[in-house]
Symmetry: C2
Subunit: 252 residues, 2 copies
DNA sequence: GCATATTTGTCCGTATGTATC
DNA sequence: CGATACATACGGACAAATATG
């Protein structure tokens, strides 16, 4: 029947093998963030390739956010700590190619923030609660739109961190910034601030009381209220109703 | 007080400007997937840079999965349709650097699949239900581990597509493959198949009945049952309990 | 503060294997 | 099959930028 399944022989480029080796060194912890790579000339000797090939490999690694090289730096390229920049980049292009509608992004935010609140209500530490308090205070005291937005971001980041799940935290941050960038001009109306602050206080109270489901419901509702003017009719309704449905099912 | 806030002047590399221009052309739809870029020699004329610079730019674009170039291709580099490959790559490195624990990944799967089921129960089409039926049938008829796994993936992908949210679909796929790769050896025990099939049938019945909350609960429970042997005690409990808490709160 | 050496960024020319017509 | 054009890879070169003594 099926004989020995051979692997297709892909002709692997020289620069790719360099990328693989350096990438592996970083992922295995052999190269730690902050450490330096050898200079390009050293690398071309170690890999026995030309400098062009070394440079193409470095450009790929740089595009992935793993290293950074500056002209004239005698220490060689620097190994960077992981940042979700690459994740952010690929999600942004995914959204830009118009593969993603604003409704889908907001819906995803509702899912992520709901989960974050659910977890944060149970796992939060006192210092994280203090951070949320401080963020709300800064929202209240904010003068410019920028200041208000920054405090808002800090609040949500504190909640995401309190969830104890770095993936939720990173994805929430990425999706939020994408959504905000997409409709940055239209929103941030000062007349919405009071309502926004009130919402954050309610949600925080629910977190403090350990009522994750309530906090999640408030978050979904707030997102729906805020973004529905910019979305087609009923784009978010399903998630709201179904979340409510979860409760009804439990009551039965 | 605060004078005019100037932008820090970053010396932008030549290859970066090329990347920006081509990237913009793709994102704006000026260059569509399947179309070809000019040859490297044409590009070095159009941008008035050297060949090396053009190549470094192409390597970056290739790393982002936007183009593909083959030696000898007279048509030039091909513009690729968007694939979540870049997303997959960055999430994988995020997990590999051990920034992410297996518990966090599984937890994230619980969140995503729960949301997918919630939406799919309301938005599914008849053809998508048929796909899920077919996938379960193939799971039942599967002989090898590989076949079973492929059918399993197809089922979950059908659910994710039925959610109508491409971001949920893509992220679910990415996180699932990462988790599976992390513990590929240990699992897939044949004795678990019957139970797995039974679970899928239950979840599909819930979807067909339009009971999203039930389907979501089943999915979370199945993930917890399946992965808890490989996780520290109580790593997933919070999410299960809190999801149950959503119901209790609704009953009150 | 300054001069120097090193490194990166960029350019040019060339050779080689390959895909298409 | 042959001719052509292409990508891959090599090596040498110069200017700008940077760190070091």
């Amino acid at each position: 029947m099926s004989g020995p399944r051979f692997q297709p022989v892909r002709t692997v480029r020289a620069y790719e093998r360099i990328v693989e080796q350096i990438e592996h060194a970083v992922e295995s912890g052999e190269l730690r963030p902050g450490e330096r790579l050898p200079s390009e000339r050293d690398l071309m000797v170690q890999f026995s390739v030309s400098r062009s090939t070394v440079r193409e490999a470095l450009r790929v690694l740089q595009a992935r956010g793993m290293v950074r090289s500056r002209p004239g730096d005698p220490h060689g390229a620097e190994v960077l700590p992981f940042t979700p920049a690459a994740l952010h980049k690929s999600m942004t292009t995914l959204a830009r190619v118009d593969e993603l509608s604003l409704a889908e992004l907001v819906q995803f935010r509702m899912v992520l923030e709901g989960a974050a609140y659910l977890l944060a209500a149970r796992l939060h530490t006192p210092s994280q609660l203090a951070e949320m308090d401080a963020a709300i205070a800064r929202m209240r005291a904010a003068e410019g739109e920028e200041e208000f937005g920054a405090a808002d971001v800090d609040f949500h980041d504190a909640v995401a961190r309190a969830s104890g799940n770095k993936l939720i935290q990173i994805c929430s941050d990425v999706v939020r910034s994408i959504v905000v960038n997409l409709i940055a001009d239209k929103i941030r109306a000062p007349e919405l601030r009071a309502r926004s602050i009130a919402h954050h206080e309610e949600a925080l109270a629910a977190v403090r009381a350990g009522d994750g489901p309530l906090a999640a419901r408030l978050a979904r509702q707030a997102l729906s209220d805020f973004y529905s003017p910019y979305l087609p009719e009923g784009a978010l309704g399903v998630l709201l109703e179904e979340a409510a449905g979860e409760e009804a099912a439990g009551g039965a």
